[in-house]
């Protein structure tokens, strides 16, 4: 998920830096001095969480949990992530100094998006609407997966199917499958309504992050185009892992301390 120094082209680095600075400036302006301890302590927790490794098949993945971060912190995700990434770059050597802005945008922007997409479903007083939208989303993902499957089948029927077409359909199908998996868990009562929205937030944010990492690589040069596509496909297992983790965390929080979701405005 971290891009190292030296791989990206100058326009991408500058663009990422400018967007990150704008995001940090806007969220700092909104942030009250009263909230600083809360945001600081929460961002320390997320730093520690990013050190946790979860086994996945033969290897393991380390957590990002930017979906959870976005749901809890909202806009404050920007400065929290800039601080965490700076610490990681300087003291661990992960990521890098010049790519700090790009990495921050790639991780924090999806977090803020998830805040706007998913948070209302977690805090909703009347859960009927949240349930209804969940069902509608399932229908959309179901159609999406069938469509992706059909287009993949057609791509192999037509002679000279390009790598690009098949990769796009595969990633679309995998995306829909991960989402349907979340819906199935929710139907089995493994996840509550809030948990389903947490799942959606956790997996969507990883998907957006993967897409943005792929975009920053692809914009930097054609030689990274294949690597960019690989990044997206490789992140689907991570999407499922982070979705379930975020769902479990959200379920615990809604039971134990619901005011945590509204801790930072």
């Amino acid at each position: 998920m971290h891009i190292v120094d030296g791989a990206l082209s100058n326009p991408v680095l500058i663009g990422g830096g400018v967007i990150a600075a704008a995001g940090v400036a806007y969220s700092l302006k909104k942030l009250e001095p009263e909230d600083l301890p809360r945001v600081g302590v929460l961002s320390a927790v997320f730093f520690v969480v990013s050190l946790i490794h979860v086994p996945l098949g033969f290897s393991s993945v380390h957590l990002i949990l930017n979906g959870l971060l976005g749901i809890i912190l909202g806009w404050a995700a920007f400065p929290a992530l800039v601080v965490a990434l700076l610490l990681q770059a300087v003291f661990f050597g992960f990521g890098g100094l010049t790519v700090l802005g790009v990495n921050a945008v790639n991780i924090a922007f999806p977090a803020v998006m998830v805040f706007f997409i998913c948070r209302w479903g977690i805090t909703a007083q009347q859960q009927n609407l949240a349930k209804l939208v969940a069902d509608v989303l399932f229908a959309i993902f179901f159609i999406l997966s069938i469509w992706a499957g059909v287009s993949l089948y057609e791509a192999y029927q037509v002679e000279g199917a390009t790598w690009r077409v098949s990769v796009n359909s595969i990633s679309l199908a995998l995306f829909a499958l991960v989402m349907i998996y979340g819906y199935v868990l929710y139907r089995q009562k493994t996840l509550s309504v809030a948990g389903f929205w947490g799942f959606l937030g956790g997996s969507l944010s990883i998907f957006f992050t993967a897409v943005m990492v792929a975009m920053s690589l692809a914009l930097s040069g054609d030689e990274f185009a294949k690597a960019a596509e690989f990044v997206i496909v490789a992140h689907f297992p991570v999407m499922a892992v982070e979705g379930i983790l975020t769902a479990a965390t959200i379920q615990l929080i809604t039971k134990v301390k619901p005011e945590l979701i509204n801790a930072v405005r």
Binding site: V4, D5, G6, A7, N10, V24, A25, L28, L31, P33, E34, L36, P37, R38, G40, V41, L42, S43, A44, V45, F47, V48, V49, L51, V54, P55, L56, L68, I72, P79, A80, V83, A84, L87, A89, V90, F91, F92, G93, F94, G96, L97, T98, T190, G221, E223, A225, K226, A227, I244, L245, A248, T249, Q251, L252, I253, V256, K257, L260, A263
Partner: protein, 261 residues
């Protein structure tokens, strides 16, 4: 005691007696080191000439050596970055179009791709070494103060200092909870049970952290917090800092000269 970010907590009031003389780079003003490092890093990431980049890597290595980094942690960091570079070395020649150099199973490896991979590898390592040598040896709190003196927004610096302060606290809490889980027979696997348990662990850490942050806020208000923090660290630019800054400027200009002539 676990120290996530490296050995910290030098005493503020008592100057502890040092057995070894301090490294020269450590005695420099943190602001000068930070600014030199950032400008050096941006220069390196904008360069394309391989000989200039090799020279930059040499300078970075020199900085790392002269700041006497702990050997094993340094090697671990370098290995993490270079494992990514090795993957790039193996794939880039095949994905970049250009003059074929050799071919494996019908895939042509291009000269340009190899060149590009070498460039990325040199850049990443040069920046990493100069970063470790100049900034990595700083205490995190000193880094925060240097950022504040460099006119980084005060709220961001305070957020930085809070985060640095509580990382160790929550890392210990995390270790305690993992130990408790282990004592009850928890073994991480690839299944929903593991994910849910770790999710609950993270949830409990968040709940506790919120309660802790409320206590912190109360304690701060009790001591008359009015929205401002006072940074006590007075930094002074001395003669050697000026000399170092001039040296950095000369090096940067020299690298630019190699790049363009």
């Amino acid at each position: 005691m676990t120290q996530v970010l490296g050995d910290v907590s030098q005493s503020w009031t008592v100057k502890n007696e040092q057995s070894k003389p301090e490294a020269f780079l450590k005695s420099l003003d943190p602001r000068v080191r930070l600014v030199s490092c950032v400008s050096f890093a941006f220069l390196i990431s904008a360069m394309h000439d391989l000989s200039a980049l090799t020279l930059a890597l040499g300078i970075g290595l020199g900085l790392s050596l002269s700041s006497r980094l702990p050997l094993w942690t340094t090697i671990r960091k370098v290995v993490v970055v270079d494992s990514f570079i090795v993957v790039l070395m193996l794939t880039l020649p095949f994905t970049m179009p250009g003059d074929p150099l050799f071919s494996v199973w019908g895939w042509d490896a291009s000269k340009e791709g190899l060149y590009r991979a070498a460039e990325v590898g040199l850049k990443a390592n040069a920046i990493l070494f100069s970063l470790m040598g100049l900034v990595g040896i700083m205490e995190p709190s000193v880094l925060g103060h240097a950022l504040y003196r460099l006119k980084v927004p005060a709220k961001l610096v305070h957020l930085f200092l809070f985060t640095v302060r509580y990382i160790d606290v929550f890392y210990k809490e995390y270790k305690t909870m993992r130990l408790a889980m282990k004592a009850r027979g928890f073994v991480p696997r690839t299944d929903i049970h593991t994910l849910r348990s770790i999710g609950y662990l993270i949830g409990m850490m968040l709940v506790r952290s919120l309660e802790r942050s409320d206590r912190i806020m109360e304690a701060m208000k009790c001591r008359g917090f009015d929205g401002r923090f006072h940074i006590l660290n007075n930094m002074k630019i001395e003669m050697r800092d000026r000399i170092f800054a001039v040296c950095t400027a000369v090096v940067i200009l020299g690298l630019l000269a190699i790049e363009y002539f």
